[in-house]
Symmetry: C2
Subunit: 354 residues, 2 copies
């Protein structure tokens, strides 16, 4: 393995550039998409596909899905360099979902710039995002690790299974967002996270297990580790939004309390709705359902969450999930270094401050 995880990033970006180069020409189009029946127009593919993809990647992102994949491969005793092209699969899938989610959520910003549909138009952004659901799967066909048919088939079936569940999770999230008065339970919220965020993490782990031919119980254990960690990550996000907002209470110039403004049913909200005195719970529901909130109203909602002990509750749930994630690793014969990296990751997802 390279010295630090961050050192993998340039290598990952090179592998992505092998798949979708920054400059598109006819040679690339023919080698990747096959001979044209008539004639390709490389200029339109440059602008409709490669430019949006690289615009998003160049803005940042830690490529942690690719890096986590390589940690698993290394932990399974294989050379990560050899499996580098496969690291693009979860990474490009993830970036594709970001573009599409931003259109669905009407997001305006992403990684320090305007959301991609504000740069390229909704049509180009959406088509590029959707293309990124299929572009990286070409790697399984190119088969750089020379895998037998059974393993490649297992990889496709795993991807279809997880990508179906991803859309299930996104469907739950969107529906709850639109239908503000739908009551959402804790278990349903966790399921939404497990599907929407967890399935992409499961792809990272299961793909590493499948292509290095691990037994089913190992694949299941790392998939659970990844799912649990992803759900803890999502709850970490929910906590951060509230904590950073409370910290900015006196600083009305900045935007704060985004989740409350969006009426998002986070784990903290679900807890507070159940645990607050009836009058407070009713008021919280009212504030979340409102189309717009004043800064004072946002603060009121945040203080209801605080009084109900919802921040502590959510942190405990996240810590439990992270501990369960670590416990899954017992079933796998990883070396100490891999265990340390994977354990550190379960802590990072909750303790990060951005």
């Amino acid at each position: 393995m390279r010295e630090t995880l961050a050192e993998w990033r340039p290598a990952v970006d090179e592998a992505i550039a092998d798949l979708v180069p920054r400059e598109i020409d006819d040679d690339y189009l023919e080698s990747f998409f096959g001979e044209p029946t008539y004639e390709y127009d490389s200029e339109s593919i440059q602008q409709a596909l490669a430019d949006p993809l690289w615009e998003l990647l160049d803005r940042g992102g830690k490529r942690w899905r690719a890096v986590l994949f390589l940690v698993f491969v290394d932990g399974f005793g294989e050379d990560p360099e050899e499996y580098l092209p496969y690291a693009c699969i979860p990474e490009i899938l993830h970036n594709g979902t970001i573009i599409v989610d931003d259109v669905e959520d009407g997001a305006t910003k992403r990684r320090g710039g305007p959301a991609l549909h504000h740069v390229y138009g909704q049509d180009v952004a959406l088509n590029a995002g959707n293309a990124m659901y299929f572009l990286p799967l070409k790697i399984l066909t190119e088969n750089p690790a020379d895998l037998p048919a059974e393993q490649r088939l297992a990889a496709y079936e795993m991807l279809m299974y997880e990508l179906n569940r991803t859309h299930l999770g996104q469907g739950m999230d969107i529906y709850w967002h639109n239908e503000c008065d739908t009551p959402v339970g804790t278990e349903e919220y966790l399921e939404m996270c497990a599907c929407k965020t967890g399935c992409l993490a499961r792809i990272v782990a299961r793909l590493a297990a499948i292509i290095t031919d691990q037994p089913a119980e190992v694949e299941e254990a790392v998939a659970s580790y990844a799912e649990l960690t992803a759900v803890a990550f999502q709850i970490g996000d929910d906590i951060l939004d509230v904590e950073n907002s409370l910290g900015r209470a006196g600083d009305f110039g900045k935007e704060f309390g985004n989740d409350v403004r969006e009426g998002k049913k986070t784990l903290l909200v679900i807890h507070a709705l159940e645990e607050s005195p009836p009058e407070k719970a009713r008021r919280l529901g009212e504030l979340l359902e409102a189309d717009e909130n004043t800064d004072e109203e946002v603060l009121e909602a945040l203080s209801i969450l605080e009084e109900a002990g919802s921040i502590e509750y959510a942190r405990e749930r996240a810590l439990d999930l992270a501990a369960n994630a670590r416990a899954e690793l017992d079933a796998v014969a990883f070396d100490d270094e891999t265990i340390q990296e994977l354990e550190a990751f379960t802590t990072f997802v909750i303790e990060r401050d951005e």
Copy 2:
């Protein structure tokens, strides 16, 4: 085979209902998406997935992709009933692309009703459309025809190849639409059609060939038949838009000349831009680039197409493509009935009047 092709439609809809039932419950969710880690919310999946899908299907559509698939299976000497679930794959993929394309194109109407994003909101419609890219592929995992790993792998790789090209075609179309002053050649236009419309037709043909284990040259021949027919279909569409519009010349109450209003670079437009006297060609370009056109301006553009002989030119190209499609069938040992059905289809796609 059933007596007439239309008789297959109810059976196809039943097969689709086996995949995504009209009424979603927890039992279905567990059997299709696997055991939940926590708890599903069937109500949100009903509204976010099943309702949009069935709303679109119940509005009509001839299910011709499913039926054409069954004609191929029958022609290959196999029992179509046995392979019925696989007919859902191209059909649901197609309906998914319709939902997504309508968002990308900002369409307002679809099959006699509002476009789906106007009924369910853009977020729900998009997620449902995207989910339909993955839902039907579950059939390959369920494996009702008990196919060996090699054939299932071949089906996945074929699907990924064709779906990648579909997004390539859509990317070309969108880019040309946005960048009005990009010159588009005939060969590039045909390539866009071959990718955008042709690849879904190729999926119909190739899937039938793969799952019934045909030799490579047969798969290639039916794929070419399907692609050529699809491109002829697209040109038929372009001709219809102009002919119906000219027929309505005196009837300003109705909308006409949609392609001109959208500034679409159809085969007719490309021909007229190349073949008209310079002054007429310049004026046509100007009319197409304008954000809005009066009815008189639309008529002016249509008459430039007519004077350039672009309608006849496009019809000849479509007839050539249809003839080439029929010629591809010579390489396959189909019985006379199958040949007749497939030949009739190549004529229908050009001669239809809606």
